[in-house]
Amino acid sequence: MKLRFATVALLAGTAALAACKKEPPESLPPEPAPTTSAPTGPTQPAGPVLGTQAHFENAVNGQNVIYFDTDRYNIDSADMAALQTQAQYLAQHPNISITIEGHADERGTREYNLALGERRANAAKNYLVSLGVAASRIRTVSYGKERPVALGSNEAAWAQNRRAVSVVVN
C-alpha cells in the first residue's frame, strides 16, 4: 500500500489481467494482502498490478474503507470523499468489479449485526451507483461482527470495526 510506483504505462501493460476470474471463496476471504511483484517482463517497473487489491488501494490512497457511527449506516462527508475516489477509479477501469464488505463492532447482537453490516455495505454501494458506477459491478456481503480488524474492546477499536471495505474481485 505504501508503494507509489504505479504509472499509466504499467496500468496499460497489465489491463488484460483484470479479466482473470476465480470462483468465490468457499470460506471467508483472507485479509487482502498487498501484491507488490509484477508478474513478468524485464522492462516493467515493480508495483501493484491492475486488477489487484493493492493496485486499487494504492490508487485510492487507502480510501477503500469507510467508517460508521454506532448503529448508523449513513454516508457522511468523509465517506462521500472516499467513495468519490473509489468511483473515479472504477470509472477509469471499467472491467473491475468490487465487493463491499459490511462490518459491525462487537457491541451488538449477532443477527442484528449481520443485517446492519448488509445495510452499511448497501449504503456504500448506493452512493457509488449514484456516482455512475453500474450496480452490476458491485456485490455486497455482510460479516456482521464476525471479522473485526481492531481487537480491543474499547471505543477506538469499535470505531475501526464499524466499516465498509471495498475489495477488488479477482
Binding site: 457491541r107 447482537t109 443485517a115 448488509e118 455482510s142
Partner: protein
Amino acid sequence: MKPILALFTLALAAAPAAAQDAPPTPSASDLGTPVPTGGQVETIEHAEAEEGGLTFTVTDESEWQDLGIAIPGFATDRDAPTPANASGTAALGRELARVVYNDLKNNGLFRPVGPDALPQPTFTQITAPNWPTWSSRGAEMLVHGYVRARGDGKLVVGCYLYDMALKSELVREGWVVPPADWRRAAHKCADLVYSRLSGEDPFFDSRIAYIAETGPKDNRVKRLAIMDSDGANHRFITTGRSTALTPRYSPDYRRLLYLSYVDGNPRIYVYDIGSGRQTLVTENSNPTFAPRWSPDGRWILYSMAVGGNTDIYRVSSEGGPSVRLTNAPGIDIGGSYSPDGSKIVFESDRSGSQQVYVMNADGSNQRRLTFFGGRAATPEWSPRGDQIAFTRIAGDFNIAVMSPEGRNLRTLTNGWQDEAPTWSPNGRIIQFFRTERGSGRTSLWQVDLTGRNERRLPTPVDASDPAWGPILP
C-alpha cells in the same frame, strides 16, 4: 409423561420432503460426516402415581430445591455384557445413577447425593427399599433404579421415586433403549424425579445445537455442533472451513436450520441430520439470516436483506413460496412463535433502535412491546407461553424476561455481554452465550427464572449461539 411411542410415530410420518424438492446442494461443502440420529426410546410402564405424595406446594422453588435426594447406583439382575459399558450392566447401573445425580445437581435442583457416596442396593431392594439404610442418612427422597440387558441386546431401565417420610412409592417408570442411547434412560429418570417433585414439565432428555468457536479474535473458526442437554454425545456437524452461525433444531430433531458462508455469502440452510444433506431455505441471491422453526415444525421464519433492507419471511418447511411478514423500512429480524403458533415476537429498529415487537402469525397487527429504556433484541417466546426472554442492551448486554404484554421486566444476568437466550423445553431455564471483554472468548451459560442459579455449561471449546430443542421424541 408424554406418550413417547405415539410422538415418535408422528415424527416418522412427517419425514421431510424438502430435500428431494430442492435443487442440489452447492458444490462447496463444509459438512462433516453425518451424525447418527439416535434410536427409539420405548416406555414400558406408565404407573400413574396417586396424588397425595406431595406434602408441599411449589409456589416457592426454594422449598423443593432444598430436598435431600439419595440416588444410589442402579441395580442389575445379573452382571451381563453390554455395548453401553465395557464392564457390564453392574457398572452401567452406577453410571446411570451418576447421570441422574449430575442432572439434578448441576442445575441447582434439590440436594442430591450420588452413587459414589452411597451403598449399593440389591436388585430385589429396588422395589422393596431397605428404609433404615436411607433414613439414617437423612434422605427425604430416594431414587432407585435397575438396568437389565434384554435378549435382543436392548437395555431395560427402571426408575422409582420413594418418599422416605411416607415410606411409599411416588412414581415409577421404565424404558427400553438401544445400548447407544443408555444416557437417555438416565435423563428420563431425572426428568421423572424432577417433574414429580417440582410439578414442572421435564427437560433433561433434550439436545442443544450451538456454534463451537476456536482461534484468535480476528480469525475465529465457527463450527456447527450438537450435544445432549448435559454436554454428552458431542458432535461437530461442519468442518470449520466456512463460518457457521445461529443454528435451530427442528421440533422433531430431524433437521437443523443454520447460517453458513459456504458459498461466500451468509445464507440459511436446512440440514437433514439423517442424510447429511442440506438445501438453501430459499433459492435467492439475497443474504438470509436468523432462521426459526414454528412450534409444530411446519413453518420456517427467516430474515432476508433486499437492497440493504431486512424483513422477516415465512416459508413452509417442505419448501414452496415465501410470504413476507414485515415491510417496515429498517431491520426487522428474528422471530419467535408463541407456543400455540398464533403470534410472533420479533426484533425491529423501525423506531430508531432495536426493540421487541409482536405481530399475528400472518404479519398483521404489529406493535412494539419493549419500552424499558435501552435496546431490546433477540426475543424468544417461552415454550410455556408465559414469558418472553430477550437480550437487554442498557450499557452491558444481559438476559431479561418480560410478560408477553411487555411488562414485569426482570434482568437475570450481569455479564459484560450476554446474548441470544434459548429456553429449556419446559420454560424454566434459559441458556445464552457470554462474550468476554477484550479476548472475545465465548461460552455457554444457563440461568433459571429466579436468576439465582447461574452456571457455565461445559463445552470442548469456546461456544456461542445455543439453541435448546424440545423434549426428544
